[in-house]
């Protein structure tokens, strides 16, 4: 448990430093609302994975499946919207 929490801190830290670096280097231009949307997206993702994991642990596979379908679906939609309307505008591609 302690190791896992440590890993959570580690990965969150790496992600935070990485994003901060991009912002500082000018690779990523973040408005204040981008941060809010990003944090909400991150929490939603954790919620989905946590819910599914716990449901399996409880012996409730149907709850896990429905959670993937409902909450996972919402997460997917938010991810697509986030990518489409926030990041896609800023990503340079060779299109």
């Amino acid at each position: 448990m302690a190791l896992l929490m440590w890993l959570v801190g580690l990965f969150t830290g790496i992600a935070g430093v990485k994003i901060y670096g991009w912002v500082k280097e000018g690779k990523l231009e973040c408005q204040w609302y981008h941060w809010i949307i990003g944090v909400l997206w991150y929490l939603l993702g954790m919620f989905v994975i946590g819910f599914v994991g716990v449901s399996f642990a409880e012996g409730e596979p149907q709850a896990a499946g429905m959670a993937i379908l409902i909450f996972g679906g919402v997460f997917l939609v938010v991810t697509v919207l986030l990518y489409r309307f926030v990041f896609a505008k800023q990503i340079k591609t060779a299109a």
Partner: protein
């Protein structure tokens, strides 16, 4: 050149341009890291999700952020008229009621007809899963401690050495110390919760099942059972109530005989814990009467002791263990500081959630949104505004089922284990009723709380 490479090259060529120069690769990397973090959190939840009944701390105060202590129990604030209830004659309960026996059981005790159904199912070419000989036998023997021993004796049974008291005298702790001591002692004897209430004589039967009056007496200094009456000294003012969780893995097979094994095991634990508590108190120099379902009404006593709320199904809902529980009690003259009743939104949730009523095979549980004074059968104690349960049709179903029915207990949404998902839902529900209908609907959609109709009891034997 790959698309990724082309993208990276384009980004390198335009370093000064405002706006994002984040490559798709970097984006994927960052989302990957976030995903890994999310996964780790999920995994930690997975490990943390050990069900509460599998060795969690017990005997601790159960009040946490989802539960608030209140001055008045909910049966006085949400429900009404509890003060009108007269002490109940135990012979009037469905199990003992002669009118019900005449009406539905050919004048015989209910268990005669029950056994006929058991045998009818056992002699089928293929007995239904959950009602086979191994299921029925397991269910029967699970009651061993309750039915074959003298655990509920009003007299010392010899486990405590009372001679020591002649030398050292009785234990003299403060009421607050004693509250902690009895809870810690109960913790040693198995999972569950313990609370203490001041005696309310209203919850004690006026007469036990065979018609002997139960009298609170100021002329007795010890509890005495005679043929004429059972005398409880008025000095016995403290009531210790213990909630005992039932064996969880068979809950989803209600109302089969296999699930009945959990009930029998719960009863046996009731007997053992009540007996040990009573003998513990005697060993400290005090009188004690251990009680199962007899002598008094367990549900209001448990509510008074801060162990839960009254649900739509007429049973106790405990914040940690839900409804898949049993209750035993010990009456004593040890001075013990009482606990306060609690409120965690059960009555309000029950208004919206009809799950126990929907899953009651005999339609014995009310579908009325709000409580009412209308009784459902002659075994109800009239005068209170609550959700009355038709205990006659309930028991009649038992006899037709060939096993006791615990659907209402097994299906209750509060039975969920102690994980962050359910703690959050319970917490929100305790604070506001706004989301109750959503939570009740989600409980169905997510497939919680099935019965033997959806689950095959053979799986338990094979697991």
């Amino acid at each position: 050149m790959s698309i990724q490479d082309r993208g990276d090259k384009m980004a390198e060529k335009q370093p000064d341009k405002k706006g994002l120069t984040l490559s798709r690769r970097d984006f994927l990397k960052s989302t990957g890291i976030a995903g890994l973090t999310a996964g780790a959190v999920g995994a930690s939840s997975f490990i943390n999700s050990k069900p509460a009944f599998a060795g969690e701390k017990t005997g601790q105060p159960i009040v946490d952020f989802t539960v608030k202590e209140v001055d008045q129990p909910k049966y006085k604030t949400f429900f009404e008229g509890s003060e009108n209830l007269k002490r109940f004659h135990q012979a009037n309960e469905a199990f003992k009621n002669k009118d019900l026996a005449k009406k539905n059981f050919d004048g015989k005790p209910w268990f005669v007809k029950y056994e006929e159904t058991v045998m009818q199912k056992l002699t089928m070419d293929k007995p239904p899963a959950g009602y086979t000989l191994i299921d029925q036998t397991l269910a029967n023997v699970s009651w061993t401690s309750y039915k074959t021993t003298n655990f509920f004796s009003w007299e010392p049974i010899g486990a405590a050495n009372l001679k020591r008291l002649e030398v050292v005298g009785k234990w003299e702790g403060t009421p607050e110390e004693n509250n902690k001591i009895v809870k810690k002692a109960a913790q040693m004897w198995g999972p569950g919760e313990t609370g203490v209430a001041e005696v309310n004589e209203q919850w004690f039967y006026s007469h036990e099942a065979n018609g002997t009056p139960i009298i609170f007496s100021d002329k007795h200094d010890k509890p005495v059972q005679t043929k004429e009456a059972w005398y409880i000294p008025k000095t016995m003012k403290s009531l210790i109530v213990m909630v005992i969780p039932m064996y969880e893995p068979v809950r989803k097979y209600v109302p089969s005989a296999l699930a009945g094994g959990a009930v029998g095991t719960g009863y046996s634990l009731m007997a053992e814990k009540a007996s040990k508590m009573a003998e513990f108190l005697r060993g400290l120099g005090y009188n004690a009467i251990p009680m199962g379902n007899e002598i008094g009404l367990s549900v209001p006593m448990a509510i008074d002791a801060g162990l839960g709320e009254l649900g739509r199904h007429g049973l106790l809902v405990n914040p940690k263990w839900g409804s898949w529980i049993r209750i035993s009690k010990v009456l004593t003259d040890m001075p013990i500081a009482p606990d306060k009743p609690i409120d965690f939104g059960v009555a309000e949730f029950c208004r919206t959630c009809m799950k126990c009523a929907e899953n009651c095979p005999s339609e014995s549980i009310s579908f009325d949104k709000d409580p009412s004074y209308e009784i459902k059968c002659p075994s109800n104690n009239p005068g209170m505004k609550k959700w009355y349960v038709d205990t006659w049709s309930c028991l009649t179903f038992w006899t037709e089922n060939g096993a006791g029915c615990t659907n209402c207990q097994g299906i209750c949404p509060y039975n969920k284990p102690h994980t962050w998902i359910h703690d959050v839902v319970k917490g929100i529900s305790a604070k506001t009723t706004v989301f109750n209908s959503t939570f009740a609907a989600l409980d169905d959609i997510l497939g919680y709380g099935g019965t033997v109709d959806e689950n095959n009891p053979e799986e338990w034997w094979k697991s």
